[in-house]
Amino acid sequence: MSAHKRILEREPKKFELILNEQWPDTSVIDVDSVEKKNNFQLTDIGVAKSARPEASTRDSYEKGLKYLVNSSRADFERELNVAAKMSKEGEDFFKYPVATVFSPNNVSENKESEYKFVEYGFNSADDKYKALILLEVELEKISSNEVLVTSARTIVDEMFTNAIYNAPEQALGKEQRRAFSGSERVETKSGRIFMGKNDSFLLIGCEDQYGSLDTKGLMERIHKCYDSGVDSVVNLSKEGGVGIGTYMLFNTATSFYVGVKPGESTIVMCAIPRNLSNRKVQRMAKNFHLLDLKG
């Protein structure tokens, strides 16, 4: 019997023991054993041993799975608590996103400051290069690993592009995209890029003030890239987004966190390991946490 099954069958209350003190009645479901026809409730936390992203992203947009945590990972317990925290006390995620990820059982302004090491505000496409330079300078202080720095740069770039071009379009329509991507730089609502770290992970996040992200559509696009290939999604016309940016974020990250407060805020964060080989990072099963807070 696998260690994963032992956890679920011989110790059925293990997850409740991890979580119950702070978050009673948290529903934890073994995703590997759920029948195809079942749908998930908004606050259900799915646990798998090592889910493949093409399967887990499908479970998300087809069956409503919002939280997936893989038990094969060393950070399983912390990530399980992150899922519980986001599903039960989602407002804190918008106030202290970094602390929610690194210290889910003790979220506070102090913890946010402890883990977050850089933040950059923006309200125009012209702010992008300043953001990239600042973030690279800060990254190089904590790592000389070229693969890690390149991954982080990819994440920052895609997040910035989403916040500047896609968020206003989703909120206000295609005219806004044309305005922002033309030679005339129009100011958007202000947003921010930030980074946090603990001993094991680098966390990169972006917040916009539109709150227009559709998490179901997001996971569907990501799933299609895994299932049918990126070629089936990529938009080579000049109109609109390319359609693969969020897949690039998800594929680069080992954990993916999204919070949407309609009309107010969207936060997207990606975690990547700091001290692992690229091979181990690529083989790590991906977790995701999707919070749709009612407006």
Partner: protein, 160 residues
């Protein structure tokens, strides 16, 4: 304003295009004049990154290059190899990669090194000979730090 620049040299019809910086939504390649080129060598060594918009801009431009021009990619960093493997059309069917970087990693120290694979040395059109381990003079051992079936996929595609 784009944080990107390029140089273009013409050596009797053999053009060498060196790209540098970030390739993104602010970059346009349409001003690159390759009239008269018989061969186009594209050196990616100084490309720092490419985002999804940059991928699109690149594919649109490279598709517009005449099929009569022989296209060769050189010194491709990992960021470019990842796109070659991810999106068809990034490397045209008629083009080839003559050199690209492969990351290696030392588990004990956490150090990495980028090793340049050159056609004719580590690979040919029909074969790949990946050194799984590289040892430095210091004695540090580095292991190849990619998933081979994914990273070298573009070579197998070309071979078939």
């Amino acid at each position: 304003m784009a944080n990107f620049h390029y140089t273009l040299d013409d050596n009797s019809g053999k053009f060498t295009l060196c790209l540098a910086g970030h390739i993104d939504e602010d970059v346009t390649f349409k001003h690159i004049d390759i009239d008269g080129a018989k061969e186009l060598h594209i050196d990616f060594k100084k490309v720092d990154s490419i985002n999804s918009c940059g991928i699109r801009e690149w594919i649109i431009w490279i598709r517009s290059v005449s099929a009569d021009i022989r296209i060769i990619y050189e010194n491709c960093p990992k960021a470019i190899v990842d796109q070659i493997n991810m999106v068809s059309g990034f490397l045209p069917d008629t083009a080839k990669v003559v050199s690209f970087y492969v990351p290696y990693y030392n588990e004990d120290t956490g150090r990495e090194k980028m090793v340049l694979f050159i056609e004719g040395d580590q690979y040919t059109e029909n074969d790949i000979n990946i050194p799984f381990v590289i040892k430095e003079e210091s004695g540090d051992v580095f292991e190849v730090d990619v998933i081979e079936s994914k990273y070298f996929k573009f070579l197998k595609v070309k071979a078939s």
